[in-house]
């Protein structure tokens, strides 16, 4: 009886300590397996990563209509899709904002913007805002390059598209392109994480 009690105390103690030491999960790190999703596209269809049988991976981009940083990158996001979807790395854009706070990001506005800009990639809405917190996206734009493997879609790069938000012509390092090129050629990605200014995701 005494042993059981001691064991029980120990068990509770271990449980208590672990409860305090394990931090809440704050999004993906490099090497984590990214969740799939089923989100509404601007054409009304539901899109999942598992729909892309031919894909070798994905350029998952959290972006929106209303953030000037996201707008500054619109053409470059489209260019990424043009360049890499045929090579097996399509862009999957996800709009994470609460549209009650930002009506300029609602489905209708997304459709309009996609038409104006001629987006060729899926532009999905994270209705219910369940997906972006799992990825750990904090701002727009925020990119996750995933590589498809038997185990799932592995996070290979997190961060900015390139190193100059203001002027596409003055870019020195194209982080996302470098990452995808490395994956395509089977090389190690040199810069796996970058930081950039962006607009807070509106909750």
């Amino acid at each position: 009886m005494k042993t059981t009690q001691k064991l029980l105390t120990l068990f509770v103690l271990v449980l208590t300590i672990s409860a305090f030491t394990i931090k809440p999960k704050e999004g993906y790190k490099i090497g984590d397996i990214a969740t799939d999703f089923k989100l509404e596209n601007i054409d009304g269809s539901m899109v999942s990563l598992s729909d892309f049988n031919e894909a070798k991976g994905f350029i998952v981009t959290f972006t929106c209509n209303t953030c000037p940083y996201a707008v500054a990158y619109e053409d470059r996001i489209e260019a990424l899709n043009k360049k890499y979807s045929s090579k097996g790395y399509p862009v999957i854009a996800i709009m994470p904002n609460n549209t009650d706070v930002k009506p300029g990001d609602n489905m209708e506005a997304m459709q309009k913007r996609a038409k104006e800009k001629g987006f060729t990639f899926p532009y999905l809405i994270d209705k219910g805002q369940k997906i972006y917190p799992q990825y750990g996206a904090t701002k727009t734009p925020h990119v996750y390059v995933l590589q498809k493997t038997k185990k799932g879609n592995i996070v290979k790069y997190i961060g900015a598209i390139d190193d100059n938000f203001q002027d596409a012509n003055a870019v020195k390092t194209r982080y996302v392109e470098d990452a995808v090129n490395a994956l395509l050629s089977g090389n190690e990605i040199k810069v796996k994480e970058t930081k950039a200014i962006g607009c807070t995701i509106k909750v």
């Binding site: 000037p68 904090t138 701002k139 900015a160 190193d163 930081k195 807070t200």
Partner: protein, 161 residues
Amino acid sequence: MRYILPILVVLLMVSCKEESKEITFTEVDYNGLEKVLNKQDNKTYVVNFWATWCAPCVKELPYFERINKQYKDKNVEVVLVSLDFPKHFDTKLKNFINEKQLQSELYALNDMDSNYWIPKVNKDWSGAIPATLIYNSKKREFFEQAFEYEELERTLNKFLK
């Protein structure tokens, strides 16, 4: 009678001058800003990163202005660092700070290499704004969040003990 017109003109000039006091900012790259983030004196600095296009930033700006005014005699200084696009410095930013008549110390950061300087401001900063750094010689803390006035005041007071 002939003096009235000149007097009116002078009065008009004086009153205009009173109302439209030109508000200016200092444009810096990160090397310039780094000094502002690491002052070694007896003051407490509240450094807010914002932009005219950032709605939650614009909403909380008056709280920082209020802190700057009300805590001046308690050795507190508010510094506002604009992350507007440099091409908008002389238009949008200039108009905004003059329209709002901002009284805090103003900087505008012109440094494209954000992957270099964001982790130098704080290693945990994702780059989302609003964000605020509060520091003095004893304590330094970074907040990637928006503030309400009471919360900002409460947080600041922890630095003033």
